[in-house]
C-alpha cells in the first residue's frame, strides 16, 4: 500500500463532505482496535462462543476420488453462525460499534446473508437495524428477508437502478448521510471507501489464518491452489490472506459468468474484458460500465455475486498477477452444486458453487500428493427457491402450489 487506503492504483475514499468527520472517527476507532491486542482476543472469543469458529476444513474424499487428481478440501464457512462468512465481518464491526457508542446499524445486502448477519448482530448487541436490499434480490432471497424481519430488522426493498446490490449500497449511503450521528454503516464487503476494504479484509482474515493451520495439520503441507468466489470479494480476501506470502500457493478468484462472458449478461469484472477503471460507490476499481461511465446491468444466478465493482485489493492483486481470475456460468454452477450434494452431502450456496466449478475443472490437473482448498463461503439453504426452480423439481412445485392454495383461502 502506498497512500492510505490505496492498493496500487485502486481504492481511495471518494466520499461526500458531509461524511468527512464520520470517516475520521471510524478510521480512528479502527486504528485503535487494530493496535489493541485485546480487541482481536475479544473478537476470537466472540466468534468461538457465539459462532462456531474455527470452522472445519473438510476433506472431500468422494469428490477427490471422482476427479482423480489433487485432494479436495472444503473450508466450511457454511457452519459459521447465520450460515456464511459474513458473520466474521459483522461481529467484528459490531464490536467496533459498541466502542464508538452508536445505537443503530444499517447495511446493504445482495444474497441476504450479510443482511441476516447484521440483523443477528443488532439483535445480540441491542441495536436498531435497517437493511437495504434490491427489490430483485428481495424476490429471489425471500427466506433471508423473513429471518431479518423476525430478528427485528426493517428490510427496505430498493427499487432504483438495477434493483440489486449496487443500488442497495447507494441507498445505505443515502441513509447514512443523514443518520451518521447515531448510526454505523456495516459495509458487507471489501469494497467502498477506505477504511472499509481494509477493515472487512482484517475481520475476514480469520478464515485464512485457520485454513493455513488446518491444511498443514490435515494434509501435512500447503495446498497447490485455493479457490474462492468473488462478488465484492470478502470471502476470497479472507481465505487468500492466509496464503498471500506462500508464493507457491496459487490463488484463484471465480466470478459470475452468468449466461457466458460473450453474452454481456454476467458479473465478471476481472475474468472478462468488459470492465474498465472507474470511480463509484466511494472507491476506485474496475467496473462494468459503458464508455460514458454509466454502470451496466449485471447478471448472475447468485445475488451475492451480481455486482458491478470488485474489491480494490483484489484488483491490485489481479494487476500484479498474484490472483488469477476465472468465471463460472449459471449452468456450470447448478451442475457443480448437484455433484457436491450427491457426493459429499454438502449444500453450497449458489455464490460458493462458483468456486467449486473452477476447482472441479482443475482438480484433475493436480497430482494425488497435492491439495486444493475451496472456500465454501456459505450454505445453500437460502437458495432453496432458486435451486428448486432451476432443477424444475416436481414435488417442490406441487408443495408450493398447495401452500399457495392454502394461503389463497386465508
Amino acid at each position: 500500500m502506498t497512500t492510505k487506503g490505496y492498493y496500487g492504483n485502486w481504492g481511495g475514499a471518494f466520499i461526500p463532505e458531509v461524511l468527512h468527520e464520520t470517516f475520521k472517527q471510524l478510521n480512528l476507532a479502527f486504528e485503535q482496535a487494530k493496535g489493541d491486542p485485546t480487541f482481536w482476543q475479544e473478537y476470537k472469543e466472540l466468534m468461538s462462543t457465539y459462532s462456531c469458529r474455527p470452522t472445519p476444513l473438510t476433506c472431500a474424499d468422494n469428490l477427490s476420488d471422482h476427479f482423480g487428481g489433487g485432494r479436495i478440501y472444503i473450508k466450511r464457512e457454511d457452519l459459521n453462525h447465520t450460515g456464511a462468512h459474513k458473520a466474521n465481518n459483522v461481529m467484528g464491526q459490531g464490536l467496533l460499534v459498541k466502542r464508538m457508542g452508536k445505537k443503530r446499524v444499517i447495511a446493504e445486502t445482495g444474497a441476504g446473508q450479510h443482511g441476516v448477519a447484521t440483523a443477528t448482530m443488532a439483535a445480540k448487541f441491542g441495536l436498531a437495524c435497517t437493511i437495504y436490499m434490491g427489490e430483485e434480490d428481495v424476490m429471489r432471497q425471500r427466506p433471508n428477508v423473513f429471518w431479518m424481519e423476525k430478528m427485528g430488522a426493517t428490510v427496505v426493498p430498493v427499487t432504483s437502478g438495477s434493483k440489486t446490490l449496487k443500488d442497495a449500497i447507494n441507498e445505505a449511503f443515502r441513509d447514512w448521510v443523514s443518520s451518521m450521528d447515531d448510526t454505523h454503516y456495516v459495509m458487507g464487503t471489501v469494497c467502498g471507501p477506505h477504511p472499509f476494504p481494509e477493515m472487512v479484509a482484517w475481520f475476514q482474515s480469520i478464515i485464512g489464518l485457520e485454513a493455513r493451520k488446518q491444511i498443514i495439520n490435515g494434509f501435512g503441507k500447503l495446498p497447490a491452489r485455493v479457490y474462492a468466489c468473488v462478488g465484492g470479494g470478502s470471502n476470497a480476501m479472507g481465505i487468500f490472506q492466509g496464503f498471500m506470502d506462500d508464493k507457491d500457493v496459487e490463488l484463484v478468484g471465480v466470478e459470475a459468468g452468468g449466461h457466458g462472458l460473450e453474452s454481456g449478461e454476467h458479473a465478471a469484472r476481472l475474468a472478462g474484458i468488459d470492465s474498465s477503471a472507474g470511480v463509484a460507490q466511494g472507491y476506485k476499481t474496475m467496473f462494468l460500465q459503458n464508455d460514458d461511465g454509466q454502470m451496466r446491468d449485471t447478471h448472475s444466478v447468485a445475488a451475492g455475486l451480481d455486482y458491478v465493482g470488485v474489491s480494490p485489493i483484489l484488483t491490485d492483486l489481479w494487476e500484479k498477477g498474484r490472483v488469477r481470475f476465472e468465471s463460472a456460468t449459471d449452468k456450470e454452477v447448478m451442475a457443480a452444486l448437484d455433484l457436491t450434494m450427491k457426493k459429499e452431502g454438502i449444500i453450497p450456496a449458489l455464490e460458493s458453487s462458483h468456486a467449486f466449478v473452477q476447482a472441479f475443472k482443475e482438480a484433475g490437473d493436480l497430482a494425488t500428493d497435492q491439495a486444493l482448498i475451496i472456500n465454501m463461503s456459505g450454505r445453500g439453504d437460502k437458495d432453496i427457491f432458486t435451486i428448486a426452480h432451476a432443477f424444475n423439481d416436481p414435488s417442490w412445485k406441487e408443495f408450493i402450489r398447495k401452500k399457495g392454495e392454502e394461503y389463497a383461502t386465508d
Binding site: I15, V18, F173
Partner: protein, 254 residues
Amino acid sequence: MQLTDYIRKRREKKNILLMTHLVLGYPSFEVNRQVIRQMVENGVDLIELQIPFSEPMADGPMILKANQESIEAGTTVKDCLEFAAEVTAAYDIPFLFMTYYNILFKYGVEDFFKKAVAIGIKGFIVPDLPPEEGAGFLQLAGKYEIAPILIYAPTSTDERMRELAGHARGFIYCVARRGVTGKQTDFDKDFNLYMSRCRQATNLPLAVGFGISNKEDVDFLTGQADIAVIGTRTIRLIDEHGAAAVGPFIAGLK
C-alpha cells in the same frame, strides 16, 4: 477569479442571488431548453447543469429518478456537452457543471476541463470528490480557470472549513443540512450558527442549497448567504405542472 467577481458585482444590485439546477436530458433536452429560458428571463443568476450518472449517491429520490430516466432515455455525456455549448452561447449568465467524478474520470479529466473551457462553463461541482482525492482535479481547475466549487456541511468542523476554503474558488456550496437533496430543511438557530461558522471560514461568496423551496426560505437566507440554490423543487414543479410553471415560480421567489 471571474466567477467570484461576477457574484460580487451582481450582489451590489441584489440582496441575494438565485442559482437553479436541472438534470440534463430530463425529462428531455427540449424541456431543459424551455426551462432555462424561463429561468434566465425571470432573473436567475447562475445555473447548475447536472450531467446524469447512474449512481448519484448524494441525491435524493427525485433527482435520482431524473438521473436514471435521463440515462434510460439515451442521454450521453456528448449530448450534455453539446447542449451546454448551446445554452452558454445563448445566455449571458454563468453555467456550472454538477456531476459525479466517474463522468470526468471516464472522459479523461484534463480533456473534460478543456472541453468545458471551450464551451464556456464557469465551475464544477463534484460532490464525491473531496480535495484529498482531487489534487489533480484542483490543479487542472487552476490551469483552466474553472472554479472548483467545494462543499461545506453542518458536520464540517471550523478547521475543516478553513482547509476547504484553501482549495475552493468561485464560491462555497453550503449544504443546509444532513442528508440528500429534496427534503425540507428547518431553518433554525442551529442553522444561523452554522452560517456564521461558514462566513468566518472563508471570504468566498456562500451559496446555500438542499431543501430550499419557497420565498420564505429565500427571504430567510437573505443577509446570511449570497446565493440561494433551488434544486429538487423545480424538477418536481416541472413533473407536476410542466415547464411553463417555472417562470412564475422563479418570479415569485423575489
